[in-house]
């Protein structure tokens, strides 16, 4: 591995650690570093401070890391699929599709007095992701222009969001407030059992994506070339779509739709690593996405504390300008 690659991995690792500590430290209840260390190392949950650290802040940090990484890899896979760096689960409407189905399932289940488990949430989100993805792919067979495809994706996203908002407005349940926060995007309220489900799905997805890096690199040189060296293109495409949908569905299931991370982070990774090799970029994008989401969540929680902003607001502020810059540079 090149020196540059190793250095950047190390720096990202350090940033991840630092931000994780900072995220655990800051919050509406201020705790001394000594107290936090004691709680972390003893696992003491007898006092209120222990409950805040263990049941609120640590799972939230874990979720931000895993979901940020998942979102970046999901974006990277879609970019590979479309051979275009401006593709991602949010901009193509996939996240909103997932949101719609999860909201439907939740409202119906709550109406019948049932609770939906972590895997049930992921499954609902996955169904929604695939439905929108299928629609986008159907359009892609008719129009070959990426920009039109993206506009269609954005429109589908709006429709799904509108329907979701409509249902949330008219559903009557005490959990609606939570549902509303979630539909705007937030890492709050994530439990340890959520984290366990997220970890299993996201880590498995990330590893599978990593092992696709060889065929992805062949595909970068063109479909015919990939075929000629033995990539089964049909299976390859199906795997890309399924993996990216599972990953972005997991994010949406627990944190709602999170904007622009899927495009901005892989792009930043390509720039700082100065490479297009998937084998370097997949771990790089995962780490980068984790760092990016930890930072954004830190800001979302603390900028206007005690009022918490939605995570998508912050990621859009950082992510959208990067995407605009990419669009302008590509036109040159």
């Amino acid at each position: 591995m090149k020196k540059r690659t190793i250095t950047i991995y190390l720096l990202l690792g350090l940033a991840l650690l630092a931000l994780a500590v900072l995220n655990i430290h800051t919050g509406s209840v201020s705790l001394s570093p000594g107290e936090i260390l004691r709680i972390i190392f003893t696992g003491d949950r007898s006092q209120q401070s222990g409950v805040i650290i263990w049941n609120l802040r640590v799972p939230r940090v874990a979720a931000a890391i895993l979901l940020g990484g998942a979102l970046s890899i999901s974006g990277f896979l879609l970019q590979t699929f479309f051979s275009n760096p401006i593709a991602g689960p949010y901009i193509l409407g996939v996240s909103s599709g997932a949101k719609l189905v999860v909201a439907c399932v939740m409202i119906i289940m709550l109406g019948h007095g049932m609770v939906i488990g972590s895997l049930g949430m992921i499954a609902s989100a996955f169904v929604g992701s695939l439905a929108v993805m299928g629609f986008v792919l159907a359009i892609a067979t008719r129009v070959k222009t990426m920009s039109i495809l993206i506009v269609c994706g954005v429109m589908v996203g709006y429709i799904c969001s509108a329907v979701t908002e409509f249902m949330i407005t008219f559903a009557d349940d005490s959990n609606i407030i939570n549902l509303h926060n979630w539909s705007m995007g937030s890492f709050s309220g994530i439990t340890w059992s959520n984290v366990r489900a997220i970890a299993i799905v996201v880590l498995a997805g990330a590893v599978l994506a990593f092992f696709m890096s060889k065929s992805m690199s062949a595909f970068q040189l063109g479909e015919n070339y990939a075929k000629s060296v033995g990539v089964n293109m049909r299976a390859f495409r199906i795997k890309l779509i399924l993996l990216s949908s599972v990953l972005s569905a997991t994010v949406t299931a627990f944190a709602g739709p999170v904007s622009f991370v899927g495009i901005a982070v892989p792009h930043l990774a390509r720039m700082v690593f100065k490479t297009s090799k998937p084998i370097i970029l997949i771990p790089g994008a995962f780490l980068g996405g984790a760092v990016f989401c930890l930072l954004c969540d830190l800001l979302a929680r603390n900028l206007f504390a005690p009022t918490e902003m939605s995570i998508s607001t912050i990621t859009a502020v950082f992510g959208a300008p990067i995407v605009i810059a990419m669009l302008i540079r590509r036109k040159k």
Partner: protein
Amino acid sequence: MSQAILKTEALAAGYAGRIIAEQVGIQVCPGEIVALIGPNGSGKTTLLKTVAGFLEPIGGAVYLDGRDLSAFPRSEMARIMSVMMTERMATDQMTVRDVVSLGRYPYTGMLGRLTEKDQGIVDRALTRVGMTEFSERIFNDLSDGQKQRALLARSIAQEPKILLLDEPTSYLDIYHKLRFIDILKDLVSGGEMGVLMSVHELEIAYEISSRVVCLSADGHIKAFGTPQEVFSEQVINDLYQLEPGRLRSMYGGFLSAIKAEPSAPDQEE
């Protein structure tokens, strides 16, 4: 002549049951370049795609190294046959070296890591096409001619016995055309590798091929033989439906115009 590395028998090629070229019987031996010529739409690319195994033959068969193509696992096929076609690529930040390294694809493990031996083969491929000094450059920033040479190096790194090329010189200026065909000639001169290439420029087909396949507009082979046998005014006029004398007037006029130019004024005595 040594045994053919690539052979087709009564091959019918096309898409979704629609035959574009049929009754194709050609063969390529190690050490020779076979040129595939014919008008636009005659099915040159379709034929190459079928020979490459991208399309199922509608009829007949393709034999690679004496074995039916359909009996080959793709990964094994890639160690014998390399394919270079014009297509959309997303190389982005890839360097020339990254591109050429992918030629080792059929030989590397699950993660595609190169061994020292692979690196050596990549180095030699780069030298062979004269791209060593460009190896760390971004592929996308190269000129078309340099790109084609880099892609050729990728195919060389694949160490095939047969190389399929689809109009490799079409977008190149005259310097890069000549450079490219000189490298190709050098490649087959060892007698290890054969080349099957479609080409529009008749003069290139004449210059480098040991045999020429003429595919007519209706997708049948009109002639298959050495350039000396094939290239008659009659055959070319029929193949491309040219007015009699048109070809000669153009090329002849062009060549005599070049001859008329004095090479250097002060040497004219």
